[in-house]
């Protein structure tokens, strides 16, 4: 139990409180609950944000299944699978960073956060390699499009698939870039020893964001790389 004596006259005595307790919260527990709840509110909007694009994706997938299979066959599923594993590993290290913060282990926290940063960066580099290959093959919708390895009437629909590919992976990659930026800030704070069992909300909230972005990819990988159907065979 806490042995802090609650002062009866707040003007006379100030009970010692945590340096990171914001003045509008009663205590660290309330502050922690408010921040995780607020993050989930934000993630609810994110779920609906990606949900809207995915709903459009599915409507066109049902309309043009052949074009979707051909489009997915243009993807490098090996790189996609490697990136899926990379992101899952980064989610593990992120979860372990939160655990280290809960246990007040500064070194473990910093190490796990840096590993998360590295895996996140590896993901973005691999994604960049894929983007470069698509660009070279002319798989970028619009004026840059010069891919025509399918029946002429199918090509515009493959272009539509690639529009969804670039939009969905682009939005996801943007979230990853923001996540990497946030990680740098959290690493700096962890390094300074800000976090411990009393106060690990920022690490927890960072984790919620990172895991959410991982979940988006868990769906994007099969949706964009692994569609079985006519034309799904490469070459």
């Amino acid at each position: 139990m806490s042995d802090v004596v609650v002062a009866h006259d707040p003007a006379e005595h100030h009970e010692p409180h945590h340096p990171f307790l914001q003045h509008h919260f009663e205590d660290m527990g309330q502050q922690h609950e408010a921040s995780t709840l607020g993050m989930w509110m934000f993630l609810a909007t994110e779920i609906l944000f990606f949900g809207g694009v995915l709903a459009a994706y599915w409507i066109y997938r049902v309309m043009y299944p052949e074009a979707w299979a051909v489009g997915a066959a243009q993807q490098n599923w090996q790189l996609g699978a490697v990136n899926t594993i990379v992101l899952i590993v980064s989610s593990l290290t992120m979860a372990l960073a939160v655990r280290a913060a809960q246990l007040g282990r500064r070194g473990g926290q910093v190490l796990m956060l840096i590993l998360t940063l590295i895996f996140g960066t590896v993901f973005l580099v691999v994604k960049g390699v894929e983007y470069h290959a698509h660009w070279e093959e002319g798989l970028f919708p619009g004026d840059a499009w010069h891919w025509n390895h399918a029946a002429p009437e199918l090509v515009p629909k493959v272009q539509l698939f690639m529009t969804f590919y670039w939009s969905l992976t682009g939005l996801h990659a943007l979230h990853m870039v923001i996540g990497v930026g946030l990680l740098l800030w959290i690493i700096w704070r962890a390094w300074r020893g800000h976090f411990g069992p009393q106060y690990y909300g920022p690490v927890e909230v960072m984790g919620l964001y990172w895991h959410f972005v991982d979940i988006v990819w868990i769906f994007l990988f099969p949706f964009l790389y692994l569609i079985h159907g006519t034309g799904a065979h490469h070459g």
């Binding site: 205590d27 779920i47 809207g52 409507i59 992120m94 009393q198």
Partner: protein, 102 residues
Amino acid sequence: MAEEHAPEVHVTPLWIYIVIFLALALGTILTVAASRFDLGMWNTPIALVIATIKAVLVILFFMHVIHSTRLTWVVIIGAFLWLGVLFVLTFADYLTRGWQLT
């Protein structure tokens, strides 16, 4: 005056994180493996089911929702409920029209 309370710290044992990670990796391998075979109409549902299981594992364990307050559960369930409305009503419209698709 409200009693001082610290965050409730549920430290998940290390082995749980490792098991969840292995399950996620296995799910990824299964998704890729299943996509290599022509399972007729079953390819898409299998991919969806595996992805959903992976997402639920991440949400419950990596995101600590299993230890979260009921209010947090309400927000999360509400979010997916609205996602369901978005999908069900949109598809109920688009997929029931007799459009001539070329």
